[in-house]
Symmetry: C2
Subunit: 369 residues, 2 copies
């Protein structure tokens, strides 16, 4: 053990690095938005969101504006969706593991959350069939592109099989796609909305594409659902954060988003590669898939290692902070899973972080013997 002070490294949540936040452009866009739309942006507004932004996003998606709602981040829109559509005691199916905040949102509403096992190319259709048969879920929540927390992208055959099950079961499928446009390799897979337009609600956000502090997310559904969600949004906060919506509108309208995505891909791609290389080198006994985009690599620790124990050893002995993995599992059993976010660290820090993780794994396994 060394007495040298080492700066703590966080491998916790999916946070963009400071250098990814386009501060100067946001300032310009904000000035311009206030000059053009100040009286609207500073006033009360219908909870459907800033109309020019809503129209722009709807146009990009090829839908009418009444199919789209802009709110304060997508997790709250998921909450409104479930609040409007489901009743306490209803069952929601999620991937296992899944995005922890989605599970919290569903449980806050008194919903029962049931997991569907993930395979390397997406949720196992047979497991979903089984959940449908046993629990009759009303909704399936999925992150099909560069999933949080595993990094897995669901393959087209899997999407087709799952869409088929969802169609037959007359469920709603929610595809949450905040990472979809952050692809560093390979080809886009068609979204569920193309496979099953009448049963799919899409959620996304500008947190990973522009800046999380703006809190701008959107939902694409059918007009009746959008109306219901807007009513619940109005009850919750009257009006969404308008200034940030004005900024996002200007940012997209001026074409900065495309440039920014280019910058982000160039920034994050070598970080992902560094993470995969470091895992190869330091944790050859672990298992992971190689994501083609997004923010996360999901690691399965070697047999005999316990995620909670590794996190504890990492924190206490090696200046490494990991997420509480149990939150990703609806049953609370994290088994050997560790989520590794790679965007907020540079290549050198990633190498150091994974080396520390490997030492924590070794020590935790020795302790366990």
């Amino acid at each position: 053990m060394t007495t040298e002070v080492q700066p703590v490294i966080k491998l916790t949540r999916g946070v963009p690095p400071a250098e990814a936040l386009p501060c100067a452009l946001v300032k310009d866009c904000c000035a311009r938005a206030l000059a053009q739309h100040g009286e609207v942006l500073l006033q009360y507004h219908p909870a459907t969101g800033f109309t020019p932004l809503r129209e722009l996003l709807a146009e990009e998606a090829g839908v009418s504006a009444d199919s789209l709602l802009v709110g304060n981040g997508s997790i709250q829109l998921l909450f409104f969706l479930a609040q409007g559509m489901l009743s306490p005691g209803d069952v929601v199916a999620v991937e296992r593991p899944t995005y922890d905040r989605a599970v919290t949102a569903f449980r806050t509403l008194g919903l029962e959350v049931v997991g569907v096992a993930m395979e390397n190319d997406g949720p196992d259709p047979a497991a979903l069939e089984d959940v449908v048969r046993r629990h009759s879920p009303r909704l399936l929540y999925t992150v099909p592109d560069f999933q949080n927390p595993t990094g897995i992208t669901t393959s087209l055959p899997k999407r087709e099989a799952i869409a088929d099950i969802v169609r037959r079961a007359d469920m709603v499928l929610v595809e949450d796609i905040p990472y979809r446009r952050l692809r560093y390799a390979g080809e886009d897979v068609p979204p569920y909305r193309e496979l099953l337009p009448r049963q799919v609600v899409q959620l996304s956000s500008f947190s990973k594409l522009l800046a999380p502090g703006l809190r701008v997310g959107w939902a694409l559904a059918w007009p009746e659902v959008v109306r219901d969600m807007a009513k619940l949004a109005e009850d919750a906060y009257i009006t969404p954060g308008m200034l940030a919506q004005g900024v996002v509108y200007e940012f997209v309208r001026r074409g900065h988003l495309a440039d920014n995505l280019h910058t982000l891909r160039n920034l994050y791609k070598p970080r992902l590669e560094a993470m995969l290389k470091a895992l190869d080198e330091h944790l050859p006994r672990g298992r992971w898939i190689s994501p083609q985009g997004g923010f996360f690599v999901g690691l399965t620790l070697p047999c005999g290692a316990d995620a909670a124990r590794v996190a504890e050893v990492g924190r206490k002995q090696h200046g490494l902070v990991l997420s509480d993995s149990s939150g990703f599992f609806p049953d609370g059993d994290p088994s050997r899973f560790v989520r590794l976010p790679f965007c907020a660290l540079d290549e050198e820090e990633i190498e150091v972080a994974v080396a520390r993780l490997a030492r924590a794994v070794d020590e935790a396994m020795e302790d366990g013997r």
Copy 2:
């Protein structure tokens, strides 16, 4: 009946007029906030709110920062407060009439809402005693200054009597004070927090003092409650709208708020006076109190007039849109009550609006005979 086209006048919600929104200053403050704090404002952040703003507001209130939470408007903070403190089926006492969105928030949480009759100088303590005896409410929600929807300010003797009941009943009193600093005449009455510090939660917002579209409100409570609220806020939206909080911080820090309040008082005072004069002139058979600040005059229509019928005649015959009064009454019976917001119309429009209202009242009463 005239065929001349008359522009519709809205006397619905408490909306500030466009000329009250300090657009240029918001632009300056936003640029400055981003230059100074861009990396924080564009990033994820603890749900307690932008730390410099939190500290500034806490200092102004004479409390430590851990007693204060800044969120996306005060109605959602009321929701988090009740969500954290109460359970479905619990009873909440409110003034009758009260702010309609507060009733909606409580009911969304499955709470039972019971009204306490309002007198000209605040809620009737005997009625509150009775509600306490019969329903054991856990919380009393009150808007003590220039109440929404009546304009009533609760007198000091009433506040003392109510504080005494709340103390003995071991309840929490929530005082919602968004209008408190918009006083156009008379003297401030001590807030409940001074009378009963350990049982009072204060809520307020910058919607009426600066701009509603920013969605910045705050709650002042004790640290454990603030912690619980922040946890629920994090579950709901992860991070509040940071850009707007940066703007509000700069606006307050630079001293613009004091100037803006001066401007608003000078703008709104003659509008209140015009409203009272027009009521005297056109509706001498109605009853109202003369508020000394805020956004609203609460009108009780002459005997025999029905609020819903008057609203219908106003809308169909006179180009006048009123609020649905039933929302202000927990029992849904609006009786003869009409809320008249006076800030968004100039003096001439107010005169026209009240003249139309008086004609609608006359016609509704004739119909009713």
